[in-house]
Symmetry: D2
Subunit: 363 residues, 4 copies
């Protein structure tokens, strides 16, 4: 409960720093009897890992996952599943004045004031690298959800800076380096050019990611506090660099009338999904639709004003291998977080409402 | 942990339904030695209660709070503080076909499918009335924060439907029925007219609320998962009708460059607050700034298509006393939720980092 | 999580002090669809309440329970069930020097040092009176267990001071004022005489209580940390005045050989129950057998040495209505705690292992 | 919260099985700024490890601990500390019929029925080997307690089967293979002879361990539910093979009068410690004294009746390297668990009562 555990029944506790010996997590609560091996997890990690295109950091990390426990003869036993990823890129390097100054927009400042000590190597625990164990845990949650409910969780980039990218189909997502759901080659080229310019300028940019879960069981979520949408917001805002979260119509709801927003029902199902698949904190059975805002990374080459630990003014430039748009690698992370929330609530629903049988046809 | 408890160290467990005998909460973890009486709590409840203007529901509820425990001779003892609010308006009324049908955009549908049973009286537990105990608990958190850190948490309505309301100063917030931070009488008149039209039309509208916490200690928040901003997102999305949450620059971050977004530091302090007072999940000591989207209420007189429990098509109209814009009464709720998050993290910070003394001058 | 909540999925949060306005609890996680009314709870409270014989405190409290929420038309809705018991005996009385001194063996001393403030009225929160809400919550858990598994939880006094009382059958438990499972009138008379002597001497005595749960499902308990027996030990040691807990053979295991202790299995079932129904932290399906040691109450008339708040030596005598043996009223409390542990683990088992179907015939 | 996490603020999540790739734990909540290296942890593990005398299992395991995270330049950073211990003894061996039968007194039976799958290699997760990570985590807690309060936690064996061993001083504990606090060579010889006989007979025996924490701050513990003694009972009963827990006078309290049990206070301090250092669930500042009963191990060579997975009768003998008395290696485990409970409550106390200043001289 000291902050590094996510979830109540299907829970994940992570550990590690960017340049320490290893990073990893312990997944507690995955039900027994599910086939599981590293082959279920590694592909998800590979989607997140650096170096997949020139638009993301070129840091070389194999990010090879090892299952340390909780699986016997290829099947989960119901005991904790520990995942370990050794850090290969631990070389001691020149951090310049990073260790003694604070990068604008970076957690340097707050870690120092909170803990009185910080690990400056690659951002330490605040590094986006720490999303790797989460992606690993999410792979386990995804598999369990798929096997039990047919649930699928998928994400795509819907906006890169001011370039909005319409959704044209899931088949496009892995056919471009941005995980955008478009087949429009000109649009992709525009994105590539924007990224190349940024890289040359040593600057970075924000992005918007959409996440969708389909075939979600109806009834997930607790009506007050642990609402499904509240837990989704918690999960999403907890991803590095996220500054905003929307469910369903999101901020567009502000300008909607009730007669427009409330999704009507017919015997054939809901008409529209302004709710984003959640009403009163509980899943409706429709697609869960989430949209998140990712800020531009703070580690840039553009010189910026800051202070050092003594409070003296300094200029800070961050050299090294960084992502001009951290949003690009965020799609598997967002999927993982949503999957973990759903698996957690699915177990909670089994605990509390295992005996419920309603008469209404589920639509 | 079954969903009805909010917070870990400064925690609130609520109970009750809109038209049951009573609603209330148990506040666990409020430190001992603080002066506390109903007079500290009642004014906050009065701000939230119905009937304060023609623009909110006319339901008559005194919402008189009683402290049942945890206070001895006017001082908190460190034991649980139970708050009780008796429901006065329990009269049996004609719910028409509400009990057997599902209002579009309402939790009716999901409660029924989750629990197989539901309390249709005034929305039961999904009623916005259940925010009253939260406001009560928030008053206790606010007082504790104020006494220990000088922290203040304030909210205002920044948008009503498509009417944007600029922030012109806190002194205006209680001088108009919308809790808007404007002294522009023409703008307020425009809002009143918009509301009157809606009420006549039997329709409802969304709103945007901004919440600001000032004089927040630096160092609150756990870097992974229980980040301060993640917990704020959880708290805000958990408020009835909220569909979106932003911290700092929020969704505007998507179009920002890193050289623009990252708030520079000087010996005199931060230059700008795109971060919204949180970096790496930890408070910077700047103002915490949050913005939330509130959907239009689903209980409207405009007839809408729905189904009944057997899945047959029906038309639904909701008569009775309802809020054309639930956002109007949401400011004290948003303040309460943010105060509860801050108090919780402040206690956590005392637990973990009580010995930390950094050399940097806090700015 | 600040200490006043018991259980994870079937959880109870209590509040109140002995002489404050009210005591009560919030039960969170009771599944929906179970018939429930005050009539299910009141009889359990009546067993615990004072004044049932001359051997217990003569304080007059009706201990009338009111269900405030979570039940609609006589059926649980899956939302929190709040129980309220008003304190009738709040008369201001002369506490003599109790408020400024510390009774030997009493929580006076520790409350004062922990909180810096304490409620001396009747022991405040440390009063045994605070077990009343627990008994109420236990009644709900008992009913749920009975309906779902046929589980019964029963307790009896097996020792009063140095008088050991053999188990002769459950039918005797309510036929004597000590809840002893004996039909031996001479033995009961011996107990009555011992109690009368104590009362005249203004002294108190300890007791041993045995608790048995029968028809417990196999598979309850988490193998490390949240073992069923660990949670039972936590629950039992948490009852006021308990100083020791045994499961199964308990301390007798120290002198046993492995060939003697390990309960053999045959196709007809286990041979013996040294395990007390728990192996490796998980229920075997046999009876859960627990034994607890209850210390003599510290509130006695015999003068004792102590100090006051300034550290000066004083003599302390406690006048008023007290129990010469708090063990007498402890049987419903021990039953309630065991029932709550079992209900909690039963829900956890549904969450995690709902799909498990083993081939071995359950014995 | 799925059972494999211990503690709330200073928490430990363990993972691993006896013969899987590795075992370990994640310690979350250890405050920043404490010097820490493997050298602080390894000695505690070495006390617990097998093969230290002929009286314990001869399994060869180096039990070499590696710190994976949470420490930078030899100092804790406030982030999770992961400990990893690779299993060296993973050789595939002949488990005979263990995988298909149930050892009397062993968790085989319950794991199978709970999970429908089990890892039979060396007991899998139910192995006493899983106490190694706990001992590692306990070493961290011990160091923190020592540095902050001077607290020391020590244990000794006070009874081996029916041989009672009086406490004669801590200096004796590491001078005999039983961790007994006696300098009586004849008594030790009697214990050795008893053990040699048992080993020859292929049988096992129980033991009693006493644990003492000295220089404990006053005020640790929450008065209802998370009482210090309740959490100690939970911690102790959760150790493999423990069947009973006593605090202070324990079961002897049953026969005590109130005038005898309640520890008097004088300006110089408490007179006696029947309370075992806890009153009303809160520490008094005296020594915390705990005693636990450890059952004889169930893995013995003596043939015993059991059944196989199909329910057929079988005879079971357990060959291999086992402990004739698991109590011998239990002292570091009991110390670790008590240290973890105290560290957890110490952090909670800082959170809730950081401002409390009482006037009474602490005695």
């Amino acid at each position: 409960m000291s902050g590094n555990t996510f979830g109540k029944l299907f829970s994940v506790t992570t550990f590690g720093e960017s340049h320490g010996p290893a990073i990893g997590c312990v997944i507690d609560g995955c039900p027994p009897g599910m086939a599981l091996s590293e082959a279920d997890i590694q592909p998800e990690l590979d989607r997140r890992k650096p170096g997949t295109s020139r638009h993301v950091t070129q840091r070389q990390e194999a990010d090879r996952v090892e299952i340390l426990s909780g699986v016997y003869e290829g099947v989960t036993t119901g005991t904790p599943i520990a995942l370990l990823i050794r850090n290969e890129d631990q070389r001691s390097k020149d951090y310049g004045n990073i260790a003694d100054t604070f990068r604008p927009g970076h957690a340097d400042y707050t870690y120092w004031h909170k803990y009185g000590v910080r690990d400056p190597r690659g951002g330490g625990r605040s590094s986006a690298r720490l999303t790797a164990p989460v992606v690993g845990a999410g792979a386990v949650a995804k598999k369990w959800l798929r096997e039990h409910y047919g649930t699928e969780v998928l994400a795509y980039m819907s906006q890169l800076g001011d370039i909005e990218v319409p959704f044209e189909g899931w088949e496009h997502v892995h056919a471009n380096p941005f995980f955008a759901a478009t087949g429009d080659a000109a649009l992709v080229a525009r994105m590539e050019e924007a990224m190349d310019q940024l890289r040359r300028a040593g600057d970075s940019i924000g992005a918007r990611i959409n996440v969708v879960a389909s075939r979600v069981p109806v009834g997930l979520g607790q009506p007050i506090y642990d609402k499904l949408d509240a837990d989704i917001a918690y999960a999403m805002m907890g991803i590095n660099a996220v500054k905003g979260v929307e469910i369903g119509a999101g901020f567009a709801s502000v300008c909607q009338k009730g007669s427009e927003h409330g999704d009507e029902l017919t015997p054939q199902g809901f008409v529209g999904n302004n709710a984003g698949g959640v009403l009163g904190g509980i899943s409706t059975g429709q697609d869960i639709t989430v949209s998140i805002a990712i800020k531009p990374t703070s580690s840039i080459r553009v010189p910026r004003r800051s202070i050092d630990k003594e409070g003296n003014p300094v200029m800070v430039e961050t050299f090294g291998r960084h992502d001009p748009c951290v949003g690009i690698r965020a799609t598997p992370i967002a999927e993982a977080m949503l999957a973990l929330v759903l698996a957690d609530h699915a177990l909670m629903q089994r605990a509390q409402c295992a005996d419920v049988r309603v008469t209404t046809p589920k639509i």
